[in-house]
Amino acid sequence: MTVSSTSKDARDLFGALWSAYSATPTNLKIIDQYVAFAVFTAVIQVVYMALVGTFPFNSFLSGVLSCVGTAVLAVCLRIQVNKENKEFKDIAPERAFADFVLCNVVLHLVIINFLG
C-alpha cells in the first residue's frame, strides 16, 4: 500500500517535472543537451584515469578541464539567453553568443597548449 503510493508519488513528481521542462524553449534545450554531453565526457575521462593511473597527468587535466570549461561556458550562455531571466535583460542574445564564442576560442587554445 505504502510502496505503491510512494512510487505513484515519484511518478507524479517526475511527470510534473517533465511537463514543466517541456515548456522550455528549444534553444535552451539544445544548450542543456550540449552541457550533458560535456559532463558525460568528463566523467568518462575521470573513470579512465582511475583505471589506468595519472600518467600523463597534464593530458588528463587538459582533457577534463576542456569538458568542464565547455560546460561552464554553455551554462553561462544559457543564463544570458534565457528570456525569463530578468537579471541579464540588458544583454542581447547576440552579444551573449559572441562572448561565448570568444571564451571558447581562448579555452581551446589553452587546452591545445597543455594537452601534450
Binding site: Y34, A38, Q45, S66, T70, F97, L115, G116
Partner: protein, 434 residues
Amino acid sequence: MAKLIFVVLLTLIPILCTSFSPEKPSDRRILVLLDDFAVKSSHSLFFKSLQSRGFDLEFKLADDPKIALQRYGQYLYDALVLFCPTIERFGGSIDAAAVLDFVDSGHDLIVGADNNASDLIREIATECGVDFDEDSAAMVVDHSGYAVSSTEGDHTLIASDDFIKSDVILGSKKIEAPVLFQGIGHSLNPSNSLVLKVLSASPTAFSANPKSKLTSPPSLIGSSISLVSVIQARNNARILISGSLSMFSNRFFRSDVQKAGSPTKHDKSGNEQFFTELSKWVLHERGHLKAVNVQHHKVGETNEPSIYRINDDLEYSVEIYEWSGTTWEPYVADDVQIQFYMMSPYVLKTLSNDSKGRYFTSFKVPDVYGVFQFKIEYERLGYTSLSLSKQIPVRPFRHNEYERFIPAAYPYYGAAFSMMAGFFVFSAVHLYNK
C-alpha cells in the same frame, strides 16, 4: 773525498725518502723508548722479529734529552714503541700531547705498561680509550686460570686463551698455546667505539693487590678486564696497549705453559705467535685496504659521463686491494656495497667481484633527479675503513625526450577534440535555431 761523500749521499736520498706513503703503507722506521737498556736484551726476540721483517728500530732511553719525534715539521718515525712503563716525563720535546699528535697524524703506537705504570703512560692510554686499574699496586689475579709453575705463586701469572675472533688481527693460523700475562688489567671506555679487546681475562679473574687482603670488592672483575687491547683510529692509525711489559719478554716467549685445570702442557707459550701476528696488524702489514680506479658509465658505453638522466642504466666498478706487507694483493669479499646516495641511499647494492680485486655492478638510476653520490663506506673489523664518494648529477628528461603522442593519453586527446567539434556543431545548431 768530499765529492765522493756528496755523490754517495745523493744516491742515498731516494732510499732515505722511502717513508710511510700510500703506496707502501707498512711502517719502516720505529722508535723504541725504554726505561733502561736491559729491556733491549731481555725482549730481544720481539725486537728481532720486527727487524727480520725489515723494520728499522732505533732504541733510546725514554728520558734521553735528545729524543724527538719530529724535526722541521716532519715525523722522523712511522711508529713508536713505549716499553717504558715507569717513565714520569719523557726527555727531549716529547710529552703525552706529542705522542697523541703522532697518532693523530696517522702513525702507529705500541704501549707496554706494567703494574707500576706511571701517570704519563696512564694518561696516554686513557686518551686512547683504555683505563688502567687506578690502584697502582693492583695486578690481574686468576685463581682458576693461572699458569701452572713449579713454585706455587700468587696466581698473578695468567695463561689466557680468550682471543678476539678475527683472522685479520691475529692471523689465519690459530694460536694453540695460551698466552702468558702478568701485569695490570684495564677496562675499555664504553664511549669509545674504536677500541677492541684482543686478549681478555677469564670470567674468574679480578684485579687487586695480590699482597694485601681483599677488603672491598675489586673494581675490575671477570671478562670485562682486558689484558691486551687495540685501537684503530678513524685515520687508520693503529694502537696496541698491553697491561704487561713482560709479555713481550724472551722469558715469556720461550716459557712452557700449562693452564691450571688443563691436562695439556705446551712446550712454548703462545706469546711469540700472538705478538708477531698482532704486530703485523699494528704496523700495517695486514688489513690495510685501498680502493682505486673508480669507473662508472652507461651500459654499452665506455666514457664516463658528467651527468646522468633519470632511469639510465649504468655500470660501476672499483678495484680494492689489500697490502700484504710487500705487495698489493686483490681483496676478495662478498659484502662490499655501493650506495647511490642523495640525503639517503636510493640504491644500495652489493658489488660482485672477479676475485682479482675488481668489484662491479650495474643498476638503474632512480626516477628522481638531483645531485647524487656514488658512495662506498666499507668498515670491517680489523680492516682499515674505506670511504669513497663521487658526486654525479642526475637530470630529468628533456621536454623533447618524451614521446610526442602517448597511447595512454588518447582518450584525453579525443575528449579535447570532441569538445572543439561539439563547439562548432553546437554553434551551428544554436544559430540556425534562432
